[in-house]
């Protein structure tokens, strides 16, 4: 058991993956000498060489496109996109190429690769540095999409994503990189990748989040408890496939569900969770599923991001509203 930050856990997970399989490569802008702008790849080039830890030209489509070629040649590239807002130049490669190679080839070809994206807001950054692009990838068949919310998951899920034979979008809540510490047992078996997880049991309302919003969700549960309300908190972890079994089981008990994410509310992941859970739990629901997402504006200037992002108050408010039906 070692205590480490999310950033360090990701670094350790990458290191382990590089040690375990010599076909694993890391590539992206500034991932080499610099160790990445967030230092997630710190020290890796020194230890694994620049054939495996590859600084690339400044072109995201080029990075993902050449990673596809490397995967076709039998490698397992782990691509770093420097910030969420810079994944869009690679969108065509991700959505039309990465996601479809296996399908187009009638299942003959594999393109195992991981696209790591530091995502989400709350770090006071300039525009294009605080986005939550997950819904667009979840809507895309052929991609798997996961996100971690703590060091243990960061360490374990990244290794499993790299080991998976399917392409995985790995979303890293950048706000937690250096702020969130936790215990990581590097010798324990890795936690399952494709499952969501109840992180706090409760009986009155179900609260679902993932990645950067998990700490808000847990804060809400703590505050609500003082007010006498018992909230069950679930960390989705895997966004595609969506593992809603624990959510459905929970809602059948609680009758109420609130979903939280930073992505824009319209067609954010909450819409899908609401639609599916309502279909599965129609007779159990005491209130409609409520969503707390980023507003449907572009991500705003940093000095008002806290008003824009889902926070304790907006989530608590939604919890309250579920009792108003």
């Amino acid at each position: 058991m070692v205590t480490m930050t999310v950033a360090k856990a990701l670094n350790a997970g990458l290191r382990k993956a590089l040690e375990d399989d010599e076909k694993v490569l890391v590539m992206g802008e500034d991932v080499g000498t610099l160790g990445g702008v967030f230092r997630i790849t710190d020290g890796l080039q020194k230890d694994f060489g620049d054939d495996r830890i590859i600084d690339t030209p400044l072109a995201e489509s080029g990075i993902v496109g050449t990673a596809v070629g490397l995967a076709l040649r039998g490698y397992r590239p782990v691509v770093e996109i420097q910030f969420d807002g810079f994944v869009y130049p690679a969108y065509d490669q991700i959505v039309c190429q990465v996601a479809r190679f296996h399908f187009r080839s009638q299942g003959r070809v594999k393109v195992p690769m991981v696209i790591r994206i530091p995502y989400g807001g709350g770090i006071g950054a300039v525009e294009h540095h605080s986005e939550s692009p997950e819904a667009q990838f979840v809507h895309t068949p052929g991609l798997k999409v996961v996100t971690c919310s703590n060091p243990a998951d960061a360490y374990g899920m990244l290794q499993q994503a790299i080991a998976a034979d399917d392409p995985v979008i790995f979303l890293e809540p950048k706000r937690l990189y250096h702020s969130t510490k936790g215990e990581v047992d590097e010798s324990a078996p890795l936690p399952p990748l494709w499952h969501s997880r109840v992180v706090r049991p409760g009986s009155d309302v179900t609260l679902v989040g993932y990645g950067p919003t998990m700490s808000t969700c847990l804060d809400v549960a703590a505050v609500a408890e003082e007010e006498g309300r018992s909230i069950e908190v679930i960390d989705l972890r895997t966004l595609s496939p969506l593992d809603l079994a624990p959510v459905i089981e929970s809602v059948r008990r609680t009758g109420r569900l609130v979903v939280v994410h930073e992505a824009h509310q319209t067609l954010g992941l909450g819409a899908e969770v609401a639609a599916r859970v309502t279909e599965e739990c129609f007779h159990s629901l005491e209130a409609p599923v409520l969503r707390v997402g980023g507003y449907d504006t572009p991500y705003p200037a940093a000095r008002i991001e806290e008003a824009w992002l889902p926070d304790l108050d907006r989530v608590l408010d939604a919890v309250d509203r579920t009792f108003g039906y």
């Binding site: 690339t56 489509s61 993902v64 040649r73 070809v109 068949p141 593992d243």
Partner: protein
């Protein structure tokens, strides 16, 4: 256009083509790239071109008869494709566009396998690994990056510059003149140059991107694009199979030797429509087709072969018969291509199927079954 301060406009003059065989079938010997061919090689090129032209005609006819939804014709580009394809070694790998029927032929892909994509029975009828030939790429330019990445993999495998002809490996990215405008293609030049990757960019300049003439994409000869990225570019007569073979072979050898990327512009002409749904009469310029007909790739090689006494009527009749048989087989086997089964697609999305897709598959099956009961 010349400018007092900046000097002459870069590279707008028309270059010489590398040519080994004139349109009249006369063998010429350029200083660079001259190559000796055996009689078997020459006859082989000829046979290849005759057969792929037949493949193309047959597929066009199949489309007219409603057996295919669409067919992109290669008519006129046989020499470029056969020359480039035959220059490859087995271990080399090619990433094609949608029109690479000739290259596919040289990689041992049964022409019938090409039809599935256009018949709508599949989206890629062969295993790229079996033939070292990628799937046809519909999104213009995207695969040029795949080729470059694959070449980076070859480098990491230690398979450039070993000196072992059985092992040293090169990669070919095939694309058209229009594709050179795409960001992805230019990014592949950046990456290939930056890593000195063993890739040959094989551009068939057939003068058109659907209805748009070459001038819309570039104002200088296309092969000079490579200069801007720091690697060599060459224009070769793409209707001359010998020259295309020689130039591509040299470029591949450069790549295999570890000298990095090369851009080859095969200067040719699309004699047919863009695809069977296109109507070139809306945009073609008078006389073009006639002028290019005089440069036909098959006719010139045939003249040369006849002049050299390497083929006679009997030989040519035998090849024609082989083409007839191939055409007949295509017509038959096209209709026998296995129909896709909707149930299966849910298995093909991922290597490891998700519970969601399993559930959709089950729902689909139940829905389909409910009809079978009714019928």
């Amino acid at each position: 256009m010349t400018d007092a301060v900046f000097g002459p406009a870069p590279g707008a003059d028309e270059p010489e083509l590398v040519q080994l065989l004139t349109p009249e079938g006369e063998r010429v010997h350029p200083a660079a790239f001259d190559t000796d061919f055996t009689a078997d090689q020459l006859r082989g090129f000829h046979r290849d071109m005759v057969l792929v032209r037949r493949v193309d005609n047959e597929a066009t006819a199949l489309q007219r008869h409603g057996e295919l939804g669409l067919w992109p014709q290669l008519l006129g580009q046989e020499a470029a494709q056969i020359g480039a394809g035959r220059a490859m070694r087995p271990q080399d790998f090619a990433f094609p566009t949608y029109r690479e029927h000739g290259v596919a032929w040289t990689r041992g892909i049964d022409p019938v396998r090409l039809l599935g994509l256009f018949r709508g029975t599949d989206q890629g009828g062969w295993d790229p690994q079996d033939h070292n030939f990628g799937l046809y790429s519909i999104v213009v330019g995207a695969h040029s990056l795949h080729a470059t990445g694959y070449a980076m993999g070859v480098q990491r495998d230690g398979l450039v510059g070993t000196g072992d002809p059985e092992r040293d490996t090169a990669v070919v990215a095939c694309f058209g003149d229009g594709a050179t405008s795409q960001g992805d293609v230019n990014e592949s030049f950046v990456f290939a140059a930056s890593y000195n990757a063993p890739v040959v960019f094989f551009c068939q300049n057939n003068q058109w991107a659907i209805s748009e003439p070459l001038e819309r994409q570039t104002r200088i000869p296309l092969y000079r694009r490579a200069q801007g990225f720091g690697f060599p570019g060459v224009r070769v007569d793409g209707n001359d199979v010998l020259a295309t073979y020689a130039v591509v072979q040299a470029a591949l050898q450069r790549a295999r030797d570890g000298q990095g990327p090369t851009f080859v512009e095969a200067y040719t002409y699309r004699m047919g429509a863009h695809t069977t749904t296109d109507d070139p009469t809306r945009y073609r310029r008078g006389g073009d087709v006639e002028a290019w007909k005089a440069k036909d790739p098959i006719a010139r090689l045939e003249t040369h072969l006849r002049n050299e006494g390497l083929v006679d009527d009997a030989y040519l009749a035998a090849i024609a018969a082989e083409a007839d048989a191939l055409g007949e087989r295509m017509r038959r086997e096209c209709k026998e291509l296995p129909e896709p089964v909707a149930h299966d697609i849910f298995d093909l999305v991922h290597v490891e199927q998700t519970p969601e897709l399993a559930a959709q598959q089950a729902a689909y099956d139940a829905h389909a079954a409910s009809f079978e009961e009714v019928l």
